[in-house]
């Protein structure tokens, strides 16, 4: 599934990134998303339950659903 679909506190592992979004994927990779990384949805924004605040290994990163959709994950 994609990262925008996960429920709060579900621990997932990154499988890869959707094709055709080179710029976005490059930025996601630079801030630290990579295959095998552990990601967990911790909080949602107050308006429209957006943006999404994830734990990425030991860091926290906020994404909108549009960005999270690019990341393929599996439940651990």
């Amino acid at each position: 599934m994609t990262l925008d679909k996960v429920e709060k506190l579900q621990i997932t592992r990154v499988l890869g990134f959707a094709e055709g979004n080179e710029d976005l994927v490059a930025r996601l990779r630079e801030i630290g998303f990579a295959e095998e990384d552990e990601v967990e949805l911790l909080y949602r924004g107050p308006l429209g339950r957006k943006p999404l605040c994830f734990r990425l290994n030991r860091t926290m990163v906020a994404l909108r659903p549009d960005e999270a959709r690019v990341i393929e994950v599996e439940l651990v």
């Binding site: 976005l24 801030i31 295959e35 926290m60 909108r64």
Partner: protein, 609 residues
């Protein structure tokens, strides 16, 4: 001995500015580069063995895939593509010791630049407190570059770093560089993750304190309440705590003016110094307390890690308007002064969003509007109670709200006309909470404050002198009306009469072009009241007899929009590097000011008569 130029590179939350401040102290200075809107800090320090190092503070970057203005500046600095500056002699790459698994690939990326590199695992104390254990020797061997740990905020925590520099210097001077082959990011990450798994001996779960605090700070209900509470305290502090200090500065300027009058013989030179220089510069200095308080809040919120959370919480709201969460900080700064606000827009990684933010920043009610609002409200709005609220306070609050709503509408319209395009990605790291460090805070505050003083001060000083001349000459002029300023005002009167402005207002708006608050002093001169803005109460009575209520209200509406600030326009020109956008900003704000003042004048006249 030649100076070694080193660039300090690291992610936005790696403690880079703390290390920079720690190493260079207050000797840092802002460096400008020709041709680009760059302002990076450079500073020098001596190593124990007596080498001089010039350290360049590169804007925070996660890697070499530059997208925001800040990131592009960083990249061209590192590659030596900036006009008149060579590439640095070496890189000091900073990593947050708590998160090397997530960020180690950036070191491999930096190695592709072909410069000598040294890696600093920063905030090692915090990482160790969490229980993170790293095999440093193995990391050093695998990376093939020196690795040291540091706690940037403390001198002892920087000792290893400095002595390691001493050991490396001779090699670096010989440019013994390692040019790693360029690889795609995926491959780099794979290598970095494998390496991290080898060298991390123990890696506990995420910082528990941060998770606990975020339960509340990012809670869907408590979060926004906390944010509003903080903003309320911020504005209370900016506007009530600053009062006594502002009064003291005004009195100081008045005292200085009076003393100078006693020393310099009466004549044009005395007028120039007293009315031009002291009054002009004094009118800017008055806002210093508000600027200091605002930046104190912003710097503390930023250093603690809260500001990123605030940006995340308002993101969806800003998105609906056509901005994004990162615009929150620039717009917040603009309540003190649009100049630092417009410069803070650099962190926005999309050019369109940055431009939209810059264009609406002057609609945030800056502190320079307060003297005018205060004068007119005190003179024309009776201090009666409406329910539990003071009517004067309500009008002041209303003017702030009108400014914010206008910014929302303007951004909305811009997004659907000249700034079209889909929403830009939000990818924002939320740093773990930290206690701000005092010395670091004061250095940062000084950098902000001195930049404000220098920039606004020089422009206001120059225009004050020019406008003093316009208002005082030709010397045959019997009154202000006959002066050059008066003659220009008479021309403007024809344009301004339809929106209810009289000749006196038109004359005051001429010097008021330099800075909004100057108009108060100018009105004082026009109505022959001594002391100008120092004596607002004295100016109220003549205004009440000279102006109708619709005229007063129209002038308030005018000032919500009118771009009467040279410093803002000059900063916009510099930051957008475009006369077109600067002209656009001036044009649309002037049009709104004229329309709003006209509507206010005619509608209120209709209802009041």
């Amino acid at each position: 001995m030649s100076v070694l130029r080193l660039a300090l590179v690291g992610a936005p939350n790696s403690g880079k500015s703390t290390l920079f401040n720690g190493l260079t102290g207050r000797r840092a200075k802002v460096a400008n580069y020709a041709g680009v809107t760059v302002e990076t800090l450079t500073g020098r320090f001596l190593t124990p063995l007596g080498h001089t190092i010039e350290l360049i503070d590169v804007p925070g970057i996660y890697g070499l895939n530059a997208q925001s203005t800040d990131e592009k500046i960083a990249l061209s600095l590192l590659q030596g593509n900036l006009e008149g500056t060579a590439a640095p002699d070496g890189l000091i790459v900073l990593l947050d010791a708590s998160n090397i698994r997530t960020h180690l690939h950036s070191v491999l990326q930096m190695k592709t630049l072909g410069l000598p590199i040294m890696v600093v695992l920063n905030m090692m104390d915090l990482a160790e407190r969490d229980g993170v254990r790293i095999d440093l020797e193995k990391l050093e061997d695998s990376l093939g570059v020196p690795v040291v740990t540091a706690c940037a905020a403390r001198k002892a925590g920087r000792a290893d770093l400095v002595s390691c520099l001493d050991q490396q210097i001779d090699q670096w001077k010989a440019r013994a560089s390692i040019h790693a082959p360029e690889d795609d990011l995926k491959a780099l990450q794979k290598r970095a993750r494998a390496l991290a798994s080898e060298v991390i001996l123990h890696e506990p779960a995420m910082n528990n304190f941060t998770r606990q605090v975020d339960q509340y700070v990012l809670h869907p209900v408590a979060g926004p309440v906390i944010l509003l509470g903080i903003l309320f305290c911020l504005f209370q502090a900016v506007f009530s705590l600053s009062g006594p200090f502002m009064g003291a500065i005004e009195q100081g300027a008045a005292w200085l003016g009076a003393s100078v009058e006693g020393i310099i013989p009466t004549g044009w030179f005395q007028d120039l110094i007293v009315d031009g220089v002291i009054a002009g510069v004094g009118s800017v200095l008055v806002f210093l307390p508000q600027i200091i308080i605002l930046f104190t809040f912003i710097l503390l919120l930023e250093a603690s890690g809260y500001l990123a959370r605030a940006a995340v919480m308002v993101d969806e709201l800003m998105l609906k308007v056509g901005l994004n969460g990162r615009a929150f900080i620039p717009l917040l700064s603009s309540f003190a002064c649009a100049v630092p606000g417009i410069m803070a827009a650099r962190t926005i990684n999309n050019e369109r969003d940055r431009l939209t933010t810059i264009l609406v920043a002057p609609l945030m009610t800056c502190s320079a509007r307060l003297p005018i609002y205060t004068l007119i409200i005190a003179a024309f709005i009776p201090p009666e109670k409406v329910g539990i609220f003071n009517q004067q306070g309500l009008v002041m609050f209303g003017l702030y709200v009108i400014g914010i709503i206008s910014a929302v509408l303007v951004a909305f319209v811009l997004k659907r006309t000249v700034m079209q395009g889909g929403p830009q990605a939000l990818i924002m790291e939320l740093p773990s909470y930290k206690l701000p460090h005092a010395r670091d805070f004061f250095i940062n505050l000084w950098v902000k404050v001195s930049a404000f003083l220098r920039r606004a001060g020089t422009i206001i000083l120059a225009t004050s002198i020019a406008l003093w001349f316009l208002a005082s000459y030709p010397s045959s002029a019997a009154s202000l009306r006959d002066s050059y300023a008066g003659q220009i005002g008479a021309l403007l009167e024809k344009i301004l009469a339809p929106i209810g402005f009289n000749l006196e207002i038109a004359i005051a708006l001429v010097p008021g072009m330099a800075a909004r608050e100057v108009a108060v002093g100018a009105l004082g001169t026009v109505y022959a009241v001594q002391g100008g803005e120092d004596n607002v109460a004295g100016l109220a009575a003549p205004l009440q007899s000279a102006w109708s209520l619709p005229t007063a209200l129209a002038l308030l509406a005018w000032y919500v929009f009118a771009p009467q600030c040279f410093a803002t326009l000059a900063t916009t020109k510099r930051e957008t590097n475009s006369w077109k956008w600067t002209g656009f900003m001036f044009g649309y704000l002037m049009t709104l000011a004229y329309v709003a003042a006209g509507l206010t004048y005619h509608i209120s006249r209709y209802f009041l008569n």
